[in-house]
Symmetry: C2
Subunit: 343 residues, 2 copies
DNA sequence: CCAACTTATTAAAGTTCTTTAATTACTTTC
DNA sequence: GAAAGTAATTAAAGAACTTTAATAAGTTGG
């Protein structure tokens, strides 16, 4: 039976996590502020923070402004305490972002894609980072495939990675905390974090990629993975008498002209929005700037309103997919470093 | 900032909740068993349980079997410690179930429907129970409408209850812990509890009611309410060139014959299943025995497989809607009594 | 530049849990 | 039916947090 509440033995670690999370959010804090923000008593914060200081996890940055009395010491996370690597695996390139302990990107590199070559090439690439940065501790991988607990479950076209257990392999090989996430899931997480919206939102992030459309779905603040890791495969949605979403998007080619083609795309998108509204009723549906424009949104909104009552429609927005994706990967990496992630 | 872990002051209450939950699950336990099951130390369990015994919350039922030494005392929840009332508000009737503290139904009544009459009639009906059962402490109401935190947000056809704040009203009036839930949400919760499946399942419970179809949706173990409490309004799904789900289900009337009519229904249902598979990829989709038969499931499954890969289809099952609904309401009531519910 | 004041930090006392040890109450066996 | 064994309780000691009090370190104003 799992325990829904913290036992005294885990208290210490929980307190550290709270402190880390608060220091990550607000960069620099005094002990009194941390106590106030976390709800933990001052003496406990003081003791724990002193330990963290001794161990080099936090550093003293100076004194705060006085409001009439003694000036308080200010602490922040030590940027050099740990580093993390966020990797986006795409067909044509691998994107690497090196992060320090305060979440800053201290290095960014695009290396050749490895999906066709296989795990060996990826290991080489990661290996160079491991050598260069001795305090690398966290690794996050984003992959265009279905992932179950660090193992690639199903990945189209890249046989070499089919069923590859990234997590077990790199955890063992480089002693890192490894995390693997599907690309669209990482993207929706990234958007969610950047949006600054409330925590328990429901979101749908749609992308008409090269390998067919896919969606990242978040419900009540949780990523939806599905019973067979098939969630978000919107290609298959039967939206017309004899065409599904993918076909509707592709068959535009057969249209008389550009206007006709655009109208068909708009209608397919409108129906997609209607489908999500009539099922999950999410707060927001996000499109990629490579697929749609701000201007299209007006038409999609109008189109959707012909299928479901307009009051219930989500807000429709257009975003840069790569930005949200990489931010999501970075965010996952930071959470792993701070110990506030999944495990 | 909300606290993700239990502070020492709440520890006592958390421990009691753990004990209650364990005693509810297994009916009768010894102190040693409770310590083992909850992971809480024996002395703490012993002390807390003794207090609960003094306060009449638990009772000693006798001694367990010996395994060679002293026989252990066995405790169980005191059935008479508290009572709860689960109410299902339907058009034609109000269903009342009176529950004792161990979750047994100790009284069931069907009274005339009140939705057309208004809150006064409902208050009268509830009032009689409050008078009859002095230790009534919890009240759960199931309503066919959108609910936000105890207030009816949107309810079709029953103007008298539009925007009625059940929770505030009955909490104040009868000093009860009140909870209000949408009927389909309660149903999916009820099924989930009865199924004994793992906790974090994704489920869709479909019902073609008199007031049009509706679905209760659960994702990762949480009920999905939606940004404007519109989730599950599957009527509006645009599944055909010029018909939505509701129209597809209703237009069967225009079919040549019964076979044709049935085929259309099966196809609409298959598409619906495909929609959920390609979005949420749930573990199970549940149909009502009033709408579909076991035999239909074979056809629906086959139909869905023509839209999405069969491997990803949920299991399709047929259930008695009322049973799951009432069980869900009871379950919500019991959770409220035991303090393991939402607030 | 020192007295009065303000605020940070440290120390002590109080809770509440866990762990470990001691005691008690039965069972079993001869 | 008493001695030996076994498991349930109870008691004592230890750990970790909170609350409250005491002390230290600055600031400010005359």
């Amino acid at each position: 039976m799992k325990l829904p509440f913290v036992q005294p033995k885990m208290m210490g670690e929980m307190i550290r996590q709270q402190i880390r999370a608060a220091l990550y959010r607000d960069s620099v804090s005094t002990k009194a502020e941390l106590a106030q923000k976390t709800g933990i008593s001052f003496p406990t914060i003081s003791k724990t923070l002193d330990e963290m200081n001794d161990q080099g996890e936090v550093v003293l940055t100076g004194l705060g402004v006085s409001s009439g009395g003694r000036r308080p010491k200010q602490y922040r996370l030590n940027p050099d305490h740990m580093a993390g690597l966020a990797v986006g695996l795409e067909k044509d390139y691998s994107s690497y972002a090196l992060l320090n302990y305060v979440g800053e990107v201290i290095g960014r590199e695009k290396l050749p894609g490895v999906l066709h070559d296989g795990p060996e090439r990826l290991t080489e690439q990661i290996g160079t980072f491991v050598k260069r940065y001795p305090h690398l501790r966290a690794l996050t991988l984003g992959v265009p495939g279905a992932v179950n607990n660090g193992r690639v479950f199903f990945i189209l076209d890249y046989d070499k990675f089919q069923n590859f257990d990234f997590k077990a392999f790199y955890q063992e090989r480089f002693s890192l905390r490894v995390q693997v996430e599907n690309d669209m899931n990482a993207t929706v997480l990234g958007y969610h974090d950047r949006s600054g919206d409330e925590h328990d939102r429901s979101l749908v992030y749609l992308y008409l990629g090269q390998n067919g459309p896919g969606a990242g779905i978040m419900v009540n603040g949780d990523v939806v993975r599905g019973s067979s890791f098939f969630s978000g495969e919107v290609s298959f949605l039967p939206l017309y008498d004899s065409r599904n979403f993918l076909q509707a998007v592709q068959d535009r080619a057969s249209a008389q002209n550009g206007t006709e083609s655009r109208l068909r795309l708009i209608d397919a998108m409108s129906r997609l929005v209607a489908v999500f509204t009539a099922t999950l009723n999410p707060h927001t549906v996000i499109f990629c700037s490579t697929d749609m424009t701000e201007h299209d949104m007006t038409d999609v909104r109008q189109g959707s309103a012909s299928y479901v009552p307009a009051d219930n429609l989500p807000s429709l927005i257009v975003r840069d997919w790569e930005e949200d994706y990489f931010h999501g990967l970075n965010q996952l990496t930071i959470k792993t470093m701070l110990g506030t992630g999944i495990d």
